[in-house]
Point group: D2
Chain length 338, copies 4
Amino acid sequence: MAFQPTYSMRMRVGSNLVVTLFGESHGPAVGALIDGYPSGHRIDAEQLLIDMDSRKPGTSRLASMRKESDKVEILSGVYEGNSTGLPILLLIRNEDVKSKDYSFLPNLPRPGHVDHPIDIKTDGYADLRGGGSFSARLTAGLVAAGSLSRSILPKDWKIEAKVGALGGLEGVEAEALASQVKKAGDSLGSRVDLTISGLPVGFGEPWFDGIEPVLARALMAIPAARAVEFGRGVESGVMRGSEHNDAWQDGMSLKPGADGALGGMATGAALKVRITFKPPSGISMPQTTFNKAKNSMDELQIKGRHDPVIAPRARPVVEAVTRLVIADLAIKGGYIDG
Amino acid sequence: MAFQPTYSMRMRVGSNLVVTLFGESHGPAVGALIDGYPSGHRIDAEQLLIDMDSRKPGTSRLASMRKESDKVEILSGVYEGNSTGLPILLLIRNEDVKSKDYSFLPNLPRPGHVDHPIDIKTDGYADLRGGGSFSARLTAGLVAAGSLSRSILPKDWKIEAKVGALGGLEGVEAEALASQVKKAGDSLGSRVDLTISGLPVGFGEPWFDGIEPVLARALMAIPAARAVEFGRGVESGVMRGSEHNDAWQDGMSLKPGADGALGGMATGAALKVRITFKPPSGISMPQTTFNKAKNSMDELQIKGRHDPVIAPRARPVVEAVTRLVIADLAIKGGYIDG
Amino acid sequence: MAFQPTYSMRMRVGSNLVVTLFGESHGPAVGALIDGYPSGHRIDAEQLLIDMDSRKPGTSRLASMRKESDKVEILSGVYEGNSTGLPILLLIRNEDVKSKDYSFLPNLPRPGHVDHPIDIKTDGYADLRGGGSFSARLTAGLVAAGSLSRSILPKDWKIEAKVGALGGLEGVEAEALASQVKKAGDSLGSRVDLTISGLPVGFGEPWFDGIEPVLARALMAIPAARAVEFGRGVESGVMRGSEHNDAWQDGMSLKPGADGALGGMATGAALKVRITFKPPSGISMPQTTFNKAKNSMDELQIKGRHDPVIAPRARPVVEAVTRLVIADLAIKGGYIDG
Amino acid sequence: MAFQPTYSMRMRVGSNLVVTLFGESHGPAVGALIDGYPSGHRIDAEQLLIDMDSRKPGTSRLASMRKESDKVEILSGVYEGNSTGLPILLLIRNEDVKSKDYSFLPNLPRPGHVDHPIDIKTDGYADLRGGGSFSARLTAGLVAAGSLSRSILPKDWKIEAKVGALGGLEGVEAEALASQVKKAGDSLGSRVDLTISGLPVGFGEPWFDGIEPVLARALMAIPAARAVEFGRGVESGVMRGSEHNDAWQDGMSLKPGADGALGGMATGAALKVRITFKPPSGISMPQTTFNKAKNSMDELQIKGRHDPVIAPRARPVVEAVTRLVIADLAIKGGYIDG
C-alpha cells in the first residue's frame, strides 16, 4: 500500500467546551482558544494570576531558570469582566527566548525528545526550537484555560493535585534527592496525585466518554506522562474481588478509599488518580546519540534550562486539565446551568 | 447553581473512523456501526469468526458459562465481499439471556458495579439487567469492528496483546491461582500486555490526539480497566533521566525497550502498553451491601455467570480497540490510502 | 501534487444528538443509529407507524410503485417503552427489491444520478443498485429517527412542512400537471414549504451552528434538493432595507412574515423555509447518454419504479430532518431537560 | 418541561481543517484559529494582503466608512514562511472603534439585527456594540483563513465569486441603483454568484457532508445570507426531468450548465452556486421600533457607518468560506497530500 502522509494534526480537547492550544516555545506566542464557554460567568483576573504563577518556572530550585512573565491577554469573549458565551482567546507572548541553544537540531536529535519524530513527520517543516509545540511552555495556555473553567464548576466540586513522589520518595527526602540529581546534571521520575470530590452520583458517561477514559486521554497528553491509574490502579491487578469490591453503605455512601468512578460515572466517593511522569529528557550531563549530519554516534551536551523533575510543575497542569475535562462533561451532561 | 441533568450520552470513539457501540446485555442485540471505513477492502469473514471466537465466553474454565453464538450480521457497507466506503452495521443478536438472575436490581445494587450510578443518572430508566450497556457483552461489537479494521492496516504493523499476569503471577502459577480463587467464589485482578510495532516514525499527533492519549482513552473504556502504562510506565517514576533516555542509534533506530512513542508520535521502536484490570466485581461468595428497599445493610448473593479474572477475555478486546484507534489515526493522518 | 483518495466518508448529522444513517437500497437493510438521545422519553410506537406511513411509496398515484413494509425494529436504547439514554438502533429490512432493473450499471450511468461519481470515487466498489446509499430509500431511517425526536421537543414548538408547489403550480392544477407529466414518462420540479414556530427568542447559535446554517446543511442533504431559502429568501435580493426590516412590536413581538431567525437565532416569529427539489432524474422516457462499455452515446430506457415529483414524498423527510436539527440544538443549548 | 439554557455556543467550522472564529466588533481583536492545516505549505503574505484588502471597507462608495488596517498577525503554526502543521493563529487588532454609536442598546434593539435575540440568550451578558460577534467585522478572520487555504488547494481547482446582482440589476444599472438607495438612507438586497471548477469527479461525500450541504451551511453563516441555490436552484422547481437531466457526453464529460455536484459529489462540470443577501438592516433613515426602557414604540435613527448593499463586500467572504470548505473536504478525503 502506498504511504501518503497529509500531516493534518489537531491540538484540541473537549466536546462542548472545546480548548485548542496553539503556539511554539520559541515563536511569538502561546495560548488557548476556548469555544463553548457559557455566558454570564465572572472572569477572576486575580485567580488567573495565581494559577499562572503556580506553573511559572524560575520560582524554585527544582524548576528551570527561564523567566516568563506569563501575562495572559484576554482578547475576546469577555465583556465588562464577564464571559459573553462566545470564544475566549487567551494569548501569552513569549519572552526570554534563547534560540541559539537549539542550533544542534535537527542533526543531533535529543534522546527522549520528540525532535526526530516531528522532524520526520513534517518533512523538516516543524519549528524544533525549544521543543516547538511539544514544549511544556504550551501548558501555559492550558493553565490559563483551566483557571477560567473554575467559575463554571460548582463550588463543592473539588479538584486538587499534589506532588505525590519524586523518584519514589516523599517530603524532605524527595527534595533532597531531587537536588542531588540536579547537581549531578541528571533528572528524576515523579508522580502527581489527583483527587476529585463532590461530583454527583452518575456524573459522567458510559464507555469512551466516561470520566476515566476522557481524563486518561487529557492527562496522558501532558508532556512526559507515562502512566495513569484510577482508584487502586496497578495495585488492583493483584487484589481479590472480595477485597476490592466496595460495599454500598448507609444512604448509598461508600467508605473512604472506594472507587470514585465505575464504568465512566461518579459513585459519590472521591476519585483518586495517579499520574506518573518520566524523568525529564533534557539533562545537562553529556549524552551519546546519533548525529545525522556526521552519520555516526556523537556526544551531545544540552545547555538550555531544564527542570530536574516534572511533578512540581505538572501539578497545576494536572489540575487545569482535569477542570477542563470535568467542565466539558458537566456542560454536555447538563449538570451546570451556565 | 441549579442542577439539571439532560442525560444525553455518547458511545462513540474515533475521529475519521468512527465506531458507535449499541445494545444492552439482555436486550435484543448488541453491535457496532462503523462510519468512515474506506472503500475497496476485502471483508475477511473467516478472520471475523476467529476474532469473535477469541472473546467468546464458555470456552475456558476461567470464563463465564454464558453461551453466545456471537454470529455477526453485516447489514450495510459491504458489497460482494468488499467495503463500499459507506457505514458498516455489525449486528449481533443476543441469545441465552437469563434476566431472572437480575431481579434484585435496582434495590440491591452490586458492590463494584455501575448499577447504582446509572440508575441515578437516568432516573430509573436504564436497563440494568446484566449490566445493560455497561456489560462486557458490548465488547462483542468492538471485537467485530476491530476485526474489520485489520484489512485497512498495513501488514507490517503488528498489534499483539497477551495475558500479562493474573493476580501478579504468570504462566502455570497464574492459572492455578485463578482456579483456586474461582473455586472460592472470589475473583482476581490481572494485566494485559500490548505491543504495537511497525508504525512509521512520526505516526500519531501532538497533544490530545497523540498515540498515548487516544489509546489511553480507548483502553480505559474497556470494562474494569484501572490503569494504563506506556513504555516503562509506573516504573519510570523512580528512574533517572540518564537511565531512561533512549539514545538514537545507527540509522536513527532505538534499542529494544526504548519508548515506542514520544509526545504522541511513534519513534520506530515497539510501543509497549500495560493495562491493569481490577478483579471482576461479580463474585459468587456472599457480600454485604445496602438494600434501598429495606433501607438497611443486606446480604447479596449473585448467581449469574461470571468470569473470575478479566485479562483472558479482555485480551482480544485490547487488540480490537487498539486496531480501531491506530486505524483512525492512520486514516486521518493519510498513512494508508484506503 | 499527488492525488491520493482515501474514500473515508461520513453519513452523520448532529453534534449532541448524533444520527448516523446506514444501508443501501438493494442491500439487506437501511436505518439509523441515534447517539445522544436523552433518557426517560416515551417511545410512541403509534406515531412511528404514522410517520413511516407518511413517506411510504405506493400510496399515491404520484409515488413510485415499490412496496415497502417499512417496519422499524428498535434494537437498543429502549426499555419498557422508554428511552434509556443510550444509543437507539432503528433497523428497517429491505423487501421487494428488484436488482435486475439495474444491470445497465456501471456502464451506462444515468443522467442526473450519482452513479458515475460514486463509481469513480470508490474505484468501482460502491453498490450502485437502486442508487445504493444515495437512494431515497435511506430517508426511511431519517423519518424513523425524526419520529422519535418528537417526544423530546416541547409540545408548543411546531414543525410543519407542506407541499408548496409542483412545477410552479399549487393545488388541483399542480396535481393535474404532475399526472400529465408522469403519463409522458417525464418528471417535474417541486417545492416544500416549512414553518417552524414556538422557538424561544435566542434559540440557536451564532455563525456556523446557527439555525439557518445547520438547517440548510441538513435540508440540502435530502436527495434532489437544489435550493433552500429562509424568510423572504431569493426575493430579499430585490428588496430595500426599509421594506425588509422587521420593527420590533409591543412586547418585542414581530409582525407575521417577519424573519424567524436572525444571525442564527430565533426571533420569536415563525421561521419560514422553502426547499426546492429538482425534477427526479429517473424518468421512463428514452434518454441519450454515454455508454462507457461501448465508448459512444447510447440510448437508455430506465425501467424501475420512480416518483414523478419529489415534494410529496420529501415533505415528511423535511419535517424529520428539521426535528432532528432542532432537537440537537435544543439538547446542546440546554433548552430541554431530557 | 423545565427550560434551562446553558448558553454554550460554538463558532467553528470544518472537520479536519477546523476554523474557529473569535472576537467582537468593538473588542480588542478579531481573528481565526486554524487547527488541522497541513505542514510544508508556503504562506503567501502578499496574497494575504490582497485578500484582506478585497474585503476592506472604506474603499468604495458602496461600502461603509470604517477604517480598518486589517493587519493580520500570524502568531503560531508558521516557521520560516512555511506552515508547520500545527495550529495557526491569525489575529487582527481592532482600530477606529466608535462605541458611542451604540449607546442606544440594549433598550432600543435595531430592526433586522440580532441585538435582541443575543441579549435574551445571554441574559444581558453579550457585547452588543457594533453587533458584537455577529458583526461583518468577524469576516476578516474568515478571509484571512481562506487566504491561507489557497496554497493547499491544487492550482487547477478554481473558486471564483462575483457580484451577481444588486436589487435585481446588473452592471452600471446596479451601481446607479445602489448609489441612489444609499443617498436615500436606505439599503438594497443583492446576490453573489459563485463558480467552483476543476474538482475531480467523485470529490465530496454522501449525505450531510456532501459538497452542497457543507457549502450551504458555511455560506448561510455569512451575515445577511437568506438563500443558497445550487445548479439551476429555484428554477429547477419548475423544470421537467427531460430538460434538467444532464446527459453524460464523450469521455463522461458534461455540457456547460450541467449540475456540478450530484448527491454531494462532483460531476466534473463547474458547480454554480448563488447566494442571496438581504438588504443590510443598518439603514440611516429613521425607523420606528420598540423601546424596552420606555415600553412603547419609538423612533430610532442609526448613525454609525453602514454598507448600503452586501454583495460587494460579501464576495471575498464567499470565496474564503468556499475555499475553507473545499480544503476541509479535500484533506479529509485524501485528495491533497499536504
